[in-house]
Symmetry: C2
Subunit: 352 residues, 2 copies
Amino acid sequence: MQTIKAATYPIHFQQKGYQELEKLLSEKKYSTLFILVDENTKEHCYPRFLAKLNTLLSIKIIEIESGEIHKNLKTCVSVWNSITDFGGDRKSLLITLGGGVITDLGGFVASCFKRGIDFINIPTTLLSMVDASVGGKTGVDLGVLKNQIGLFANPQMVIIDDVYLDTLAARELTSGMAEIIKHGLIYDTKLFNQVKEFKKQYINNLIYRSIEIKNEVVLQDPKEKSLRKILNYGHTLGHAIESFYLESDEKENLTHGEAISIGMICESYISNKLLNFSTNKVTEIKETILSIFPKITLQESDFLAILDLLKHDKKNLSGNVNFVLLYDFEDYKIDCKVSQELIIESLIYYNS
Amino acid sequence: MQTIKAATYPIHFQQKGYQELEKLLSEKKYSTLFILVDENTKEHCYPRFLAKLNTLLSIKIIEIESGEIHKNLKTCVSVWNSITDFGGDRKSLLITLGGGVITDLGGFVASCFKRGIDFINIPTTLLSMVDASVGGKTGVDLGVLKNQIGLFANPQMVIIDDVYLDTLAARELTSGMAEIIKHGLIYDTKLFNQVKEFKKQYINNLIYRSIEIKNEVVLQDPKEKSLRKILNYGHTLGHAIESFYLESDEKENLTHGEAISIGMICESYISNKLLNFSTNKVTEIKETILSIFPKITLQESDFLAILDLLKHDKKNLSGNVNFVLLYDFEDYKIDCKVSQELIIESLIYYNS
């Protein structure tokens, strides 16, 4: 598969990635190679990666605990301390090997260590392949607020290799489908239709097209002044729902994809009410998503807490909540204001 | 005094600064204005600043504890939480009002909050005026390692107003003289001579010339690949000494200027041994510095601990300690390797 040229770096696919990595390692004369993993990617992905890596550089593994709950500054400090203890300097390279938590946190850690060292992302989950591989967003959560602390910073390269997908639990694999569906809805109906007829052997095509779309959008608007906001479709409400479940002690956490898929159903409903988005298409979205994702039942008693979390979304200015809504497939409106009543109505629609 | 044009922003002096600030506030349509202070600048500088500020914007003061010991991620988290609690969004502006701890930490905090909000620096100490106002270095310490975590990030503007110097204790005022001496030694002998004949009413000239010099250097080499390293004259050893005193429970902390002034004396001695820098000039530097700074007596039993801290300096690659040394005034050599024995000899020379 052809390399995709992102803003300042290439996204390489399969075997070519490792060849290009080897080339970069010899050109850049790094002093030490740090690999950031969690307990899962250390066990399942790192051996596969190491088998393909050909270098004489000193390699140090840094392991953090998996899960969104560890995507915080405390974990950053432990990684910074590890790099320091291993003698990391400005010519060190950090390779992130994992899902979105590892790539987001790792990019942030690298960008702030001694005012910035190089990093390379090797996303190992479907979600991080189609989402975190483009866009330069790095960061960690502050309390329950997702990605409240972070930076725009680009890696030296990204390597996408579907061999790592074999290591994923089914629920994690499914999680990534939400972003692919989103890219389809806002930008490419053909992609959305392919998701509906999804067969596993075609996963690489879905990944490739999804990355292409996100890259096209981000290149036009890297700092999210306008167009890039369409990538937040399903995320305004989805993030709040995800935070709510993360914050709750009693409820099991949702995957990012599960939360976003609820957000997309609700926001298609809101689109129908505010922008006359077709009722049939709302149904089509709901049915497609519920054929892939499990149905969660949202408690009505939780709605107000979810609304409260909405207000802290990074994209909201001066307390206004901004939604991306659909006129039609591939036709959107950004910065839409939505009343609390209609948001609640949409949550009830999801439950119905 | 004429505005100095730094990389991406202006450095305004005296009254003009407040006029330009007012202009910026009305152009940029910020949502909230956060002012970062410590207990000292809140009491002594903030009223003076407020008297000159003309805005209808909502102003929120965020106070942190003064001192290098609080220049850490824990303090950042408290500031990020405060901004969050006050409803800060991407259109918020952070104004730092204080010394190097406030400007360095504030710039870092702003650059990482929701992936970056605007900030303006108003340095209130002599040191931060001549040092932190140019160069885009932001950051905090990691344990005893100074500025280990940080970024290159530029403010929207810097305002220099000597009215804030009246609020400083004598020791803090003196601290800033070390950087002015350094700029003189590496770049402008005339400035060094002016320091020797220093009269307080000329302080603005010393500040202005010092900023000009640093700006000229940084513009040529923003990311410290070569020329900018000359700004580390006196700092390689000075930082280690500063860290050592900070780390020690028994010893009183040194000011940055006190530590750097020791570093400059030692490194002039090393320059004499390795680059034939004139013995008379070594004496001239020592006498000038000791006419301004108090003589500290370094314990020989502490030398090894200081050498150990040297190894963690950000500028050191693969465990090598790199010094900037002098052939002559205004004539330097970067990336010099120095033996441990000679470093110890130079510390003994300082003590003598």
